[in-house]
């Protein structure tokens, strides 16, 4: 029994590290990501049947690829693929040539960079919903199972399975080509990819209370995807900006929750717990983004803000005027009430509550912030600093009634109670 489960875990591990290049390589041949994924899955099933008997082969990646390619040839011969006949012959010859390569294992890496890049762009194609893009990306590039993705996004497994099936069908129906976008298309398609990677990261990062290991692991998956992308398109500053943002945010993971799992706000965190290796990597990535002329990109700007916190050894040393200026630049680039609210906080820290209050008041009628608990929470904070404790308490209590997070509600009510005493 123990040996069987050990083999199973070893096969899972092989799958995790092999599946992306397997699917990417197959997609180049069959030119259909859905079919490529099916072929790879069939090869995995074959491995699960065979390897417990035979042991894991010396070159498991090459074994999986050879198995999948033989099935690809079967598919082509049966004419089940949509492409024209002469195309199929040419492809069959190509598969044959690759199968007979002297070193199949080395041949796996021949096109790996281009193949992975194409796979990322197809999985994150704008014809798919954001949720579908995220699920497909984790499945195709992260090697995650449907069950793991479901646990990560806290949705039923069937929901994820349907998303993936529908996404693959959409890609086939719309005849989305397996290629890297060129020219003007590139910018829009790249931002779609970056959005998906950051979404995956945030799903992991915001799950401070999750007991499930899958959610924090999502941060690592997102970081890995970001680093892969940074190597494949090294001249795109926003890719480095996103990597910088994720590395610096991830550096604070250990400091973000207290002993009993309660969230610890940035300024209250024990900075000795910040991971300095990740900070340095993040700052280096930010430098690359800026050196490429991308200092004004939305991700680079957010990374620069995160970097201001990372560089401050204590909360008091934080360069708030610079953070306020960066938020202003960000607000001009991507106007958003939430960015504006963050700018107000920074202005308050840099230039005092009286300077910040008008900025917050200007957001009061903003429809998208109705019901957003941080608006009254920030306003209450500023009012308290101005000594207007009664108004501060009322705002804080309103914030408490709006938040859906029990821990945060306790925190806000405790603060409101403190101001009640301060007022008396």
């Amino acid at each position: 029994m123990a040996a069987a489960s050990e083999t199973r875990r070893a096969i899972d591990a092989v799958w995790r590290i092999e599946s992306a290049r397997l699917i990417a390589g197959l997609a180049r041949i069959v030119r259909d990501v859905g079919v490529a994924e099916d072929l790879a899955q069939e090869a995995l099933v074959a491995a699960l049947e065979r390897w417990p008997e035979t042991g894991i082969p010396d070159k498991p990646g090459a074994w999986l690829m050879a198995t999948a390619k033989h099935r690809a040839i079967d598919l082509l011969r049966r004419g089940t693929l949509l492409e024209r006949k002469h195309d199929e012959l040419a492809r069959e010859l190509e598969i044959d040539r690759e199968l007979n390569a002297p070193d199949l294992d080395a041949a796996l890496d021949d096109h790996i960079g281009d193949d992975l890049l194409r796979l990322i762009f197809v999985a994150c194609h704008p014809v798919l919903s954001t949720e579908a893009r995220a699920a497909l990306t984790l499945r195709l590039l992260g090697g995650l199972t449907t069950d793991e993705i479901a646990r990560a996004f806290l949705v039923p497994e069937t929901t994820v399975a349907q998303r993936i099936v529908r996404a693959k069908r959409t890609l086939a129906d719309k005849r989305v080509p397996f290629e890297v976008p060129r020219g003007a298309d590139m910018a829009a398609r790249l931002s779609s990819v970056l959005e998906v990677i950051y979404l995956v990261f945030n799903e992991g990062y915001s799950a401070t209370a999750g007991d499930d290991w899958m959610r924090p692991a999502l941060c690592e998956d997102a970081l890995r995807l970001g680093r892969i992308l940074a190597r494949l398109v090294p001249d795109e500053p926003e890719v480095h900006g996103l990597v910088a943002l994720m590395e610096i945010q991830a550096s604070r993971s250990r400091a973000r929750t207290g002993p009993s799992g309660e969230p610890v706000l940035l300024l209250d965190q024990n900075r000795a717990l910040w991971d300095q290796v990740l900070v340095r990597r993040g700052l280096a990535a930010l430098e690359r983004a800026e050196a490429l002329g991308g200092a004004g990109g939305p991700y680079a700007l957010q990374a620069a803000i995160a970097a201001c916190h990372a560089r401050a050894r204590t909360a008091d040393e934080t360069d708030w005027p610079r953070i306020a200026a960066l938020y202003e630049a960000l607000a001009r680039r991507v106007p958003s009430p939430v960015v504006e609210l963050n700018r107000a906080v920074a202005v308050g820290m840099a230039f005092g509550p009286a300077a910040a209050l008008p900025l917050v008041d200007a957001l009061a009628s903003e429809p998208s912030l109705q019901g957003y608990h941080l608006l009254p929470s920030v306003r209450g904070d500023l009012l308290a600093k101005l000594g207007r404790f009664d108004e501060a308490r009322a705002e804080c209590e309103r914030a408490a009634s709006l938040t859906r997070n029990a821990r945060e509600r306790e925190l806000l009510l405790a603060r409101a109670a403190g101001w009640a005493r301060g007022a008396s």
Binding site: P60, D105, E220
Partner: protein, 120 residues
């Protein structure tokens, strides 16, 4: 969770290797590293020159010692390293299996972590 692959070579075998043999092995290791990099699995790697050119430095009881290589008392030398970026020990082992050096050396798989064993 980072893991380290240490390529453990027999010192005398390393010293007996001819230049063409060494270059061929090195080329395969470079291709292996390149593939890992593109797949996002590698943080850093390098190969090390022979222990014959190495030096061991120690300080005990206020006394410094410097011993020149080769270090005959140890049969194995660290020939190179790969700092991996993968999720589990099983994945690190699967990557180690792909390493061409498994054909002429032993590849030791170690997790990055604290350097003491006791608790508390």
């Amino acid at each position: 969770m980072p893991f380290m692959l240490l390529v453990m070579e027999k010192g005398e075998e390393r010293r007996a290797r001819t230049a063409p043999e060494g270059e061929a092995a090195y080329a395969r290791m470079l291709a292996f590293a390149d593939g890992l990099t593109k797949r996002g699995l590698l943080k850093a790697c390098d190969s090390l020159r022979s222990d014959a050119e190495g030096v061991r430095v120690a300080a005990r009881g206020g006394k410094r010692t410097v011993v020149d290589g080769p270090f005959t008392e140890s049969k194995e030398i660290v020939g190179g390293f790969f700092l991996l970026d993968c999720r589990t020990m099983e994945e690190a082992i699967a990557i180690a299996h792909e390493c061409p050096a498994t054909e002429w050396a032993e590849v030791e798989v170690r997790e990055i972590g604290r350097c003491w064993e006791g608790n508390g």
